[in-house]
C-alpha cells in the first residue's frame, strides 16, 4: 500500500493540476481572509466579534471544494487520459488501487485543510492585532480540526465520485451543483432540519462558530455525519466501479 500511495503522490507531483490547485487555494485563501477582515459589510457583525472572525476564517469551504476536485481528478482523470490501464497493469488488484487513491487524497486533504487554515489564522492574527484586537474570540482548535477533517473527507468524496462517474466534468459539476445549489441554495433555507444532516450542512457545522453554527449539529456529530456520508459514497463507488472494465 505504501508503494501505491507513493505512486499516487508521484503522479500528482509530475502534473500541473495539483500545483495549480495548491497555488489557487493559497492565493484565494489569503485574499479572502484579507477581504473578509478588512472590507466592511453594512449590517454585518462588528469588527473582531466571533461572527466577524468566523467569517474571516471561512477558508475551509475553499479547501474542501478544491480537495473534492482533486479527488475527482485522481480517479476520473486517469480514465480521461486512459492512464488507468497502465495503473491496472502495474497493480491488477483494483481495490488496492482505489484504496491507495483514497488514502493519498485523505492525507493531502488533511494537509491542505490544516495548512491553509494555519496560514489564514496567522494572517488574521496579524490583521486583527494591527487593529487592536489581540485575542480572537473563537475556538481555534475546533475550527482548525474542522477545516482539516472537512477537507480530507471532501477529498474522499471526490475520489468516490470520480470512481463512480469516470468523468471529471460530470463529477465536479455534479458535486458543485449539489453542494452550492441544492444543499446550500435550496435545502438550507427550505428544509434546514434536513439540510443539517447532509454533507454540506455537516461540513458547515464542523467549520463554523458563532451565529453560523446556531441550530446546526455539534462539531462531533457533524464530523461523524460527514464521515458517514464519505464512507457511504465510497462504499457505493467501490461496489459499482471495481467490477466495471477499464478502458
Amino acid at each position: 500500500m505504501r508503494t501505491l500511495v507513493s505512486l499516487e503522490l508521484y503522479k500528482l507531483r509530475t502534473t500541473p493540476a495539483a500545483w495549480v490547485s495548491l497555488g489557487i487555494t493559497l492565493v484565494l485563501g489569503m485574499a479572502s481572509v484579507a477581504a473578509n477582515a478588512l472590507v466592511p459589510s453594512p449590517g454585518g457583525p462588528a469588527f473582531g466579534s466571533t461572527d466577524h472572525v468566523n467569517h474571516t476564517l471561512s477558508v475551509s469551504a475553499l479547501t474542501s471544494m478544491v480537495m473534492l476536485a482533486i479527488g475527482v481528478l485522481v480517479v476520473a482523470g486517469e480514465y480521461r487520459h486512459r492512464t488507468i490501464m497502465q495503473t491496472f497493469l502495474g497493480e491488477p488488484r483494483r481495490a488496492r488501487v482505489l484504496a491507495a487513491k483514497a488514502v493519498t487524497v485523505l492525507g493531502l486533504g488533511a494537509l491542505l485543510g490544516a495548512g491553509t487554515f494555519g496560514i489564514a489564522y496567522a494572517e488574521a492574527v496579524i490583521i486583527y492585532g494591527a487593529r487592536g484586537v489581540h485575542s480572537l474570540p473563537i475556538d481555534v482548535a475546533q475550527l482548525w480540526i474542522g477545516a482539516t477533517v472537512a477537507s480530507a473527507l471532501y477529498g474522499l468524496v471526490g475520489v468516490a465520485l470520480g470512481a463512480l462517474t469516470r468523468n471529471t466534468v460530470a463529477a465536479i459539476v455534479g458535486a458543485i451543483t449539489w453542494v452550492m445549489i441544492i444543499e446550500v441554495g435550496i435545502l438550507a433555507s427550505a428544509l434546514p432540519e434536513v439540510a443539517q444532516w447532509l454533507p454540506a450542512g455537516a461540513a458547515i457545522a464542523l467549520t463554523s462558530v458563532g451565529t453560523a453554527a446556531h441550530g446546526m449539529l455539534s462539531p462531533t456529530t457533524a464530523a461523524l455525519v460527514l464521515t458517514g456520508w464519505a464512507l457511504l459514497i465510497s462504499g457505493v463507488a467501490a461496489r459499482f466501479s471495481l467490477t466495471r472494465e477499464a478502458h
Binding site: T14, H81, Q86, L89, R93
Partner: protein
C-alpha cells in the same frame, strides 16, 4: 521463458458474443502474430490476458498463472495496448513512474528512453509527441520491468518505415533471446516479415494457428491466405 495460453475463452457483452471458446498459444522464443479483422476479438483477448477484462468463461494465463496473480506483473509481461499518457507529464516522468510501478531503478527507465531515441525529448510533455514517438515511449515503458513476454496491440501503428524496421529488428532480437512476443497488427506484409507463428481469430473463434511457413507457402502470400481464412467457414488447425 513463459508461454501464453488462451483456453476456451468466451466473452459476452450483453447479447453480443465477442469471444466464443477461443483457444491459442504463444510460445517462448517465437514472434506470434495475432491477426483478425476489426471486431474479431483480438483486443478483448489481449485485455483478458492482461487482467483488464474478465472472461465470461475460460482463462488466459502466463505459464499457467493469471496476470492478476503474478507477484510483479510488469516484470513478467510488457504490454502496449492503447493505454494513454498524461499529456502534461514529461516522457521522463512517465517512464520513471512506470519504473516505480515495476519496482526497478529509475536509471533503467532513463536508459530506455535513450535506447528508443527519445533521450532528447525526455523533458518534453508527451502531449506534444507524434504518434510514432508515443509508440516508442509505450514500448520503452513496456520494457522497463525487463519482462520475458511482450503483448503488443498494433505496435507498428504510426511508425515510419525506419521505425517499423527498427521495431522488427527489436522484436526479432527479443524473441531470439528467448522472449515471448505476441502482437496484433493489420499490416500483414510487415507481420509476415517478422512473425514465426500466426494465430488468426475470426468471430471470436480460432480460425487458424501455426508456423508462418506452414500457413503461407511459396505460391501464396499472407494477405490472400488471410482473406481466404476469414471468408471460409472451415476452421483449420495446423499447429501441432
Amino acid at each position: 521463458m513463459p508461454t501464453l495460453s488462451f483456453h476456451q475463452l468466451t466473452k459476452h457483452y450483453g447479447p453480443v458474443t465477442v469471444l466464443d471458446g477461443f483457444t491459442a498459444t504463444a510460445l517462448p522464443g517465437r514472434v506470434t502474430a495475432f491477426l483478425g479483422v476489426n471486431g474479431a476479438g483480438k483486443t478483448t483477448s489481449m485485455r483478458i490476458m492482461l487482467g483488464l477484462a474478465d472472461p465470461t468463461s475460460g482463462e488466459a494465463t502466463i505459464d499457467g498463472v493469471r496476470y492478476a496473480d503474478l507477484p510483479h506483473p510488469t516484470r513478467v509481461v510488457g504490454a502496449v495496448l492503447d493505454q494513454g499518457f498524461h499529456p502534461n507529464r514529461s516522457a521522463r516522468n512517465h517512464i520513471r513512474l512506470t519504473a516505480r510501478q515495476a519496482g526497478v531503478p529509475t536509471d533503467t527507465a532513463d536508459d530506455l528512453l535513450h535506447r528508443f531515441g527519445l533521450g532528447a525529448a525526455a523533458g518534453r510533455r508527451v502531449g506534444g509527441f507524434s504518434l510514432g514517438m508515443r509508440q516508442r515511449l509505450a514500448l520503452a515503458s513496456a520494457l522497463v520491468g525487463d519482462p520475458s513476454v511482450l503483448v503488443l496491440d498494433e505496435p507498428l501503428n504510426g511508425l515510419d518505415p525506419d521505425g517499423i524496421r527498427e521495431m522488427r529488428r527489436f522484436l526479432r532480437s527479443f524473441a531470439d533471446a528467448g522472449g515471448t512476443v505476441f502482437l496484433s497488427s493489420h499490416l500483414l506484409s510487415e507481420v509476415a516479415a517478422v512473425a514465426d507463428d500466426l494465430v488468426v481469430i475470426h468471430r471470436g473463434t480460432l480460425a487458424a494457428a501455426g508456423p508462418v511457413r506452414d500457413i503461407v507457402t511459396d505460391d501464396t502470400d499472407l494477405e490472400s491466405v488471410f482473406h481466404d481464412l476469414i471468408h471460409s467457414t472451415d476452421t483449420q488447425e495446423v499447429w501441432s
